[in-house]
Symmetry: C2
Subunit: 251 residues, 2 copies
């Protein structure tokens, strides 16, 4: 624990404060504790006196979002929380360090290696100079240091995907490339958790080569699922009343 200089209040909450700050009624919090979605109180100082810390408050908010915003049932929330809470083990970290770079290489698009320069991309009019710079800053495109950076089929694939979006009518005026930040944030978080989940679930019973082959297949074959879920969740977001916020949950 890092040192807190004087003047910083330690954060501990009674259950009433927890309810007030999370917007979740006390009986619902107690129900979630019984169901194992929340751990017992952080500190218990008596038979009826218990305190909850800030991490606890965060967890209450997370469970609320999973219930109310994403409509997850209790047993699924339990699994999501378990996956999220378990820190990566040394074995898992070693497996990612060993197999990760090989898999990343295997996932590259295009059969033949190719090497394009920045000038090649600009000459093909796939992207403006300013857009290319932003894509580079985002680390989405190009390999190597700025002076010797080169581009390959993978990069053309991304530019192609951006081009398709633009042709569909969503030009840069309505979809500036800085909007990609949203996708990187959430798909990046998803990617990290997918890698951990896959690593954890394949720790036993498979050779390194078999895991590598399975992972490569899984990434490719999960794309229709990811697209189907996204479509479905967009439809759900469209159909729900955006001004409605507080659903009550009966414990």
């Amino acid at each position: 624990m890092l040192n807190d200089p004087p003047g910083d209040a330690p954060s501990r909450h009674r259950i009433g404060g927890l309810a007030a700050q999370s917007g979740v009624p006390i009986p619902t919090i107690k129900y979630w504790i019984r169901e194992g979605l929340l751990p017992p109180p952080s500190t218990k100082t008596g038979r009826t006196m218990a305190y909850y810390d800030d991490a606890y408050l965060e967890r209450v908010r997370l469970v609320r979002a999973l219930r109310e915003q994403h409509f997850l049932p209790v047993r699924v929330i339990r699994e999501v929380l378990a996956d999220r809470a378990e820190p990566i083990t040394l074995d898992e970290a070693a497996a990612i360090a060993r197999l990760g770079p090989r898999l990343a290489e295997k996932m590259r698009l295009g059969p033949a290696p190719m090497s394009l320069t920045r000038a090649d991309l600009l000459a093909r009019a796939l992207v403006t100079d300013a857009d290319l710079t932003l894509l580079e800053e985002l680390g989405l495109i190009g390999t190597g240091a700025p002076a010797t950076r080169c581009y390959d089929a993978e990069d053309l694939g991304l530019l192609d995907a951006l081009g398709r979006l633009e042709q569909s009518g969503l030009g840069r005026d309505r979809f500036p490339l800085t909007s990609l930040g949203l996708y990187i944030e959430l798909l990046g978080e998803l990617a990290h958790r997918e890698v951990h989940m896959f690593t954890r679930r394949t720790m036993t019973g498979l050779s390194d080569d078999a895991r590598l082959a399975l992972a490569a297949e899984a990434v490719r074959h999960s794309e229709p699922l990811v697209c189907a879920l996204r479509r479905l969740l967009i439809r759900r977001a469209l159909a729900s009343d955006p001004s409605a916020t507080n659903h009550e949950e009966s414990p």
Copy 2:
């Protein structure tokens, strides 16, 4: 502000506590304030005395994650934060309420309406009874109340996508359907923010019908981009050392 019962400490932090609790060095916090990624202190009580509240601490943590985990450059973080901070306006909520259901309908798969029963799905052996129940609990499949629920091309599309994943070698033992919770959480968050972003960016200059047509095209034509970004971010997650956490940022 909801009432805090006695015993709950108000949370306010000095800059040192903010740094300690967020893991971000003080000079970096000051740099982020200068760059506009963070607002000025929540409370200023003197020339050198300032306090920061819990929401501020959360924002420091978010900026840190966007920098260190997702490698977003400052100007993109500024945009992500602005999109996130702006509450939905009444006009935007009205637009979603008006166009949302029509767009959700337009996004449905399949040209002809079709109506399958639960027994039809089970007879086709697309899914087990237990899996079907979980998919229903997750709200991913079926339309209508339990007794009269029916299934259509959209539902078959999802089952098909799940089947493809299974055939690729990722069976239910390694990918139990409760794992879908992770995807619903993050793609659901993405869907909400995509809907808001699209609504905001198309508030002017388009008729309702034109917006509807554009949205339908955009959802479909953004799928290659979503898949390309996910692949890229998985490669990035694979290549980064999962045991490394603290990168220093020079202000």
